[in-house]
């Protein structure tokens, strides 16, 4: 019953998101649409981070760099004359996948705090690399004068159409990561999170599984980056800043680590809170900071836990009697 409840809420959220572009503009609330887009783009990146942190137990503070890599690869592709969004997508996946493979292979030689610091450092390295790209704006970033097209048509441009594409991508990544978590791969990942020695002794090479997860997560984040570029019509090295990585981590924890809807709820919540707080107080971070501290000290389980209180057996990863993951 509880499981159905969380699925129901997810379905509701998706229906609302689907209705928004048709309902909000007539109500004069088009600004809300751009907020929702922002939330969805964050959610896609957060879903991929949750794969790493929630499922895999790998706390990365450099994940935003992959979002930036996706955005920049697409931007550079555009500037070089490649217009087709599918080709740009392929490029973004390739470049981000490669970067994730190399940095992951090095970073995953460590765990815990060391892994944290190394992902932080690699993220910073990518940030600096992006600031050095003088022909593409360097520190200031790059405004795009032409956007990606779908085989020549501009159906992938503009807030309205792009909104639906982004929603679709969100749905796809949410569904994909869900399948992945319930599949053999996800099980090994979670086992490695809970007891790496035991998992190795069973006969699994933890390194290989974690690296695969790292690459997949990097690629999904890159897709979010590409769509961000397409929406904002602008890319900047700030997208790779570690504060952005921190934001993603906050979203994932706020929403509920390792839960099926945590990333999306966290992203929506954060965007709304930022907007509401920011409208009252320009220095809203003075409240946001201590809020994070309080959350870290007291709130276990995040929003998902609040909305769908679970007993101990329903913690992420436990098989339910009927075989579904909580």
């Amino acid at each position: 019953m509880r499981m159905d409840r969380s699925l129901l809420v997810m379905a509701l959220v998706f229906v609302l998101l689907l209705a928004a572009p048709f309902v909000l503009p007539p109500l004069g609330q088009s600004y809300l649409l751009s907020l929702l887009i922002k939330a969805m783009l964050l959610a896609i990146a957060a879903i991929s981070l949750d794969l790493l942190v929630g499922q895999g137990g790998m706390i990365s503070l450099g994940h935003a760099a992959f979002v930036a890599i996706g955005a920049y690869t697409a931007a550079i592709g555009l500037e070089s004359g490649i217009e087709n969004i599918l080709v740009l997508l392929l490029l973004a996946l390739l470049v981000s996948g490669l970067c994730a493979l190399v940095t992951g292979a090095l970073a995953l030689r460590t765990t815990g705090v060391y892994f944290l610091m190394i992902t932080l450092a690699f993220g910073q390295m990518i940030y600096f690399t992006l600031t050095s790209l003088a022909p593409y704006g360097g520190d200031d970033g790059l405004t795009l004068w032409s956007l990606a097209t779908f085989f020549g048509s501009d159906v992938v441009q503009g807030s309205g159409q792009l909104y639906l594409i982004i929603l679709l991508t969100l749905l796809a990544s949410w569904w994909g990561v869900q399948r992945l978590s319930n599949a053999r791969f996800g099980r090994v990942l979670r086992a490695a999170r809970d007891n790496p020695d035991r998992t190795e002794i069973m006969g699994f090479s933890i390194f290989r599984f974690r690296l695969t997860a790292y690459v997949i997560a990097g690629m999904i984040a890159a897709v979010s980056g590409l769509l961000t570029m397409q929406h904002a019509e602008f890319v900047s090295p700030a997208m790779a800043a570690w504060q952005r990585s921190g934001d993603l981590l906050v979203i994932v924890v706020l929403g509920g680590l390792g839960t099926r809807n945590g990333a999306l709820l966290g992203a929506l919540f954060l965007v709304i809170v930022e907007e509401v707080l920011g409208s009252f107080l320009h220095e809203w971070r003075l409240i946001y900071g201590p809020l994070l501290v309080l959350m870290a000290l007291h709130a276990k389980g995040g929003l998902s836990h609040l909305l769908f209180p679970a007993n101990r057996t329903e913690k992420a990863g436990v098989t339910r009697v009927n075989g579904e993951q909580a």
Binding site: I59, L61, A107, L116, Q124, F128, G246, V253
Partner: protein, 315 residues
Amino acid sequence: MYGKADAVSLTLFLIQCLNGLQYGTLLFLIAAGLTLVFGVMGFINLAHGVQYMVGAYLVFAFQQLTGNFFVAVVLSLVAALLLGLLLEYFVFRHLYGRDHLDQVLATFGIIIFLNELAKVIFGPGTLSIEPPEVLSGSVQLTEQLRYPVYRFVTILAGLAVAVLLYITVTRTRVGMLIRAGATTPEMVSALGVNIQRLFMIVFGVGAMLAGFAGVIAAPIFAIEPGMGDNILIIAFVVIIIGGVGSIRGAFLGALMVGLFDTVGRTLLTEGLEVVFPPSFSNQVGPALASMLIYILMAAVLVVRPQGLLPAKGAH
């Protein structure tokens, strides 16, 4: 033939070496506090960077108030220590032994708060202070070589702190407790030592080191909100290279990174200029140089993941 040009570039090279040394000692001050707190308490303090920033702002504020740099330094150190102890008491104490994720989140929140506070109190712009009269000007080191007195003094100050730390950790009773607390905290408290007080002392020392680094850096670098964030990551690179939990490692790592970054930057730009036009090499050079230290970190990770001088038996 040894000509004037060679003398000039040799001088330039030596100045860069000294700059590298100065940057290195600054990095050591920051990294030492970081590695100490992690080595003893297993606590990853991301907020260490803002404590550095706080030091810089404090010395600025006290300098404005008292007009005397040295008084300002002393007051800043005291204030930095107080702030560190307050943070420890209200927040960090509850995070020892907690999930790393909780630690990251809490310290992240503190960074956001303090950065914003700095912006609110001092404004978002860059501030600067001058080094004190008695330490201004340059010192003639060799016939060709002149180096700013203040920078020279900071190198000496950094080295002095390093020696002091080394003696404290290896020769004194407190230092022994610190090393013991790092490896077997249960044993230490079983011996009747107040582990909570020990942790507080360690954290306080770490806070003062960060604050001191901020204080001496203030006249050299720009004072601005967020100035601690980037140098924090460099400090992480330092302790990864040197070995987490090891002060000797922090020292070696800091000097390596300081020299690599500063000297490497110059060498790389000049090296590129041999082949490429200045417009290119002036842009790409510094960027590549920024990557150098990460490449160094990656190399250490491949060859010796535990760091160059790892602490024995620590976390």
